[in-house]
Symmetry: C2
Subunit: 471 residues, 2 copies
């Protein structure tokens, strides 16, 4: 495997002189104002928010339309140059790192709304629009795009990684929001994968195939999304438990009750302590469950009453409800500021797992994750979208201290392997990128052969985001 | 196209003598008790509920396990014999008709529950289990499988066609319920397409690809499904409007209000009249909207109050609510008995469209459908799951009266073409089968080439349900 990887590297990496030839062709085709070799730009496109090694592209392109993308792909094809799409750079598995160099495509100038149809509760956008920009637009019409991975990612990046986040328990993942994708294939052909109808049984489901393919099968140039009505009323709540296991059991109880929670998040005691330290807060240092309920007022009030009864039956403590928007924000702060709290420890880096397991296995996996962190001798916490069975660890390490990164990464890998063993997945929402490649065979078995066949069919030259997902 | 179709036919159809050789091999591999050439069985597997031409298979197999399926596929591969899966025979587009003869696989002896996990709200079943059998099982644990295409279809058949029905407005289609499929590929390899986790960003989404592929990419041997809690309280309502256009506008208003209706069905006046005639009822002969609301009691009561206000604002008539289960059934009878009413007109056959369009285009499409039926000179009605923008026509014709079937089919085709033109799909839930093949290029354009590439990769010999979906 290592040999073939090296071969692949040598095949794809091209010398500085040769790269100047194709870059000249790029400029001829799309114009010099859309092509940059500025050092700052090359560095910006060399990394995402993961600890994976930075690698700069030869060149960054800033296309403005589908034809620019077609031109870029055609030049790449003619010169056999890798093409890697870059959204907001907020990925957590290295998907946007051009590990074989070549062209990085930045979509910031492709962030237009192509067609907004409030009556249909759908919108078609270019991939560079971010989710906050999108919501600002559609909120005016009483609509919202609920998928919330935390970062202000681009819609294209979110499609490419099948992102989700805190609201997936109610609305599903990015894939579930898609009606149609416009995609430029490796040979420059442009296809549409779906229609603007809410459902279809026509032809093979290519929309779902391109979603989550991380730019390895084609370059997405338009995305048609479902939108949802903004619920008229929202309430939040928080309670705590003695063990993370009990938190996970409590989340399971809520799900089985049929309450359509909007968000349901677990933060373990260690993470609460970290947030208190970071922000100077005084939240109870206990394993905590955070809830959001949303809908018609009478429904929300009944839901929160039932939730409280269920949590009391499980001996919860610190049950607190907030209705006022300011109070709501205050109550959820410990959850919201968690990533910052871990990400801003001076001189320290962090890494984290992203497992998703059947809900019944969640308590034991959370306990196992805690054990792994303890055994590593490093600091870390657990947080997660427990309504889906999806949770993360955040393990902090000093990259100047030999062996610490390896110890941190071991916790990720061991947890992912255990998740796969109990019928779950190594990545609930971050995607495969570089970090989960080694787990694909364990998770998918012989299906990896089919996936590679799809890749081979759509990108026979291996130019689209090479070196990602599969070895 | 016709020439290549004929070539394909001549390649695949094999003589009686040759078929006896492979049937002997089938018997050797899976046992004579699982192989039938009984005339009644051959006829039963020659058709579904569509008006497409009946064609008998050479032989029907009744596998009992995955290994039987592997053996069947391997024999088929060795002898280059077509293999067509058969569920309950309730399809509406001819998917189960073995148009190139060969082997029909009947799943009635593969209807076991492999793993039921109420705590995870998931179940793994063999494909021959029907949806009513499934619900009987899971209802005992307070859970339900909501997808309801009307007929008591098998789960395998419902996956293969990406079925949906009255509850899709709330729960989505069959594809949205799937966590994992076990599939035997054309070469006998067995793969799993997913995991038992509620969401995943690992690898390419093969689950969505096999769902809706109508047995053309592999034979499904196990299905892992999401289940849902049974709502604690249900209410139904019905109201009428002067025009079908107003009904469609009313449905759109309900959706935009954010009320999470469980079902929302349109039945036009002509169809109500047909039901009255068939059952001796006295329902108001007007264009009618039927609603079902389900959830926590307080929520349902608030929803129905809001729905009534919204419908009154649109000048609805005959608003009627039912809470008592018996009264609920009575109120919905006109919707429930509609297919029977049209299907039981002595000496008449029927056919129907299955378009799905953006909600904003629904009113004009419903009007156009009515015009097409009038112009055909035939009797027919409109009914549909208007919450998704999905509706059907039912046009009845006398197959002994020359030209009537052609006229009926013209209404389907013209409506499907208009649906595609306005950004919709030719089939919302019935699938492509034989009836929608001619519309694939119009709907999917160059994406058809990619779909064919997937087919070629997974079934290079073209033995899995040949002659369906694509020419």
């Amino acid at each position: 495997m290592i040999i073939s990887l090296l071969f692949c590297l040598s095949k794809l990496q091209i010398s500085k002189g040769v790269s100047q030839i194709y870059i000249k062709h790029l400029i001829d085709r799309i114009g010099s104002n859309k092509v940059s070799q500025n050092e700052t730009e090359l560095f910006r496109h060399s990394h995402d928010e993961s600890p994976h090694k930075t690698i700069e592209p030869d060149v960054v392109c800033f296309p403005e339309c589908k034809d620019d993308i077609k031109n870029i792909v055609e030049v790449a094809h003619a010169h056999r140059v890798p093409v890697t799409a870059f959204g907001a750079g907020s990925g957590l598995e290295g998907q946007a790192i051009p590990i074989h160099k070549g062209i990085s495509i930045n979509f910031e100038n492709m962030n237009a709304v192509v067609d907004f149809s409030p009556d249909d509760m759908t919108i078609t956008v270019q991939p560079g629009l971010t989710r906050l920009q999108l919501n600002k637009l559609v909120n005016r019409k009483g609509l919202m795009f609920p998928i919330d991975p935390g970062a202000d990612a681009t819609i294209g990046g979110m499609v490419a990684t099948n992102a989700s986040g805190t609201t997936a328990v109610r609305y599903g993942s990015m894939r579930d929001q898609l009606l149609d994708l416009e995609v430029v294939l490796a040979d420059g052909t442009v296809i549409h994968t779906g229609t603007h109808a809410k459902k279809s049984s026509s032809g093979y489901n290519l929309t779902g195939l391109f979603a989550g393919s991380e730019g390895t099968l084609g370059i997405i140039t338009e995305v048609t999304l479902r939108l949802h009505g903004i619920p008229e009323y929202t309430m939040v709540a928080r309670c705590t438990f003695d063990t993370p296991e009990k938190c996970a059991q409590a989340a399971q109880t809520i799900l089985l009750s049929g309450i359509p929670v909007m968000r349901m998040e677990l933060v373990d005691a260690q993470s609460i302590s970290q947030v208190n330290m970071y922000g100077g807060y005084n939240y109870p240092v206990k394993h905590s469950l955070f809830f959001e309920f949303a809908g018609l007022k009478a429904a929300v009030e009944e839901e929160i009453k039932l939730a409280q009864e269920l949590m009391n039956d499980l001996d919860c403590q610190d049950w607190k409800v907030a209705t006022d928007p300011k109070e709501q924000k205050e109550l959820w702060k410990a959850r919201h500021e968690l990533s910052y709290a871990y990400g801003h420890i001076k001189g320290m880096a962090d890494t984290g797992a992203d497992v998703c397991v059947p809900i019944s296995r969640l308590p034991e996996l959370v306990v196992y994750a805690r054990e792994l962190i303890e055994q590593s001798g490093l600091e870390g916490g657990i947080l997660g979208h427990v309504g889906d069975g999806n949770f993360h660890t955040i393990v902090i390490f000093d990259s100047n201290n030999p062996g610490e990164q390896e110890k941190a990464e071991y916790t990720n890998e061991a947890l992912a392997m255990r998740a796969i063993e109990v019928g779950g997945t190594c990545t609930g929402e971050h995607g495969v990128g570089l970090g989960k490649m080694k787990l694909q065979k364990a998770e998918h078995g012989d299906a990896v052969g089919i996936m590679k066949g799809v890749k081979q069919m759509l990108d026979p030259e291996g130019l689209l985001n090479p070196g990602k997902i599969f070895y």
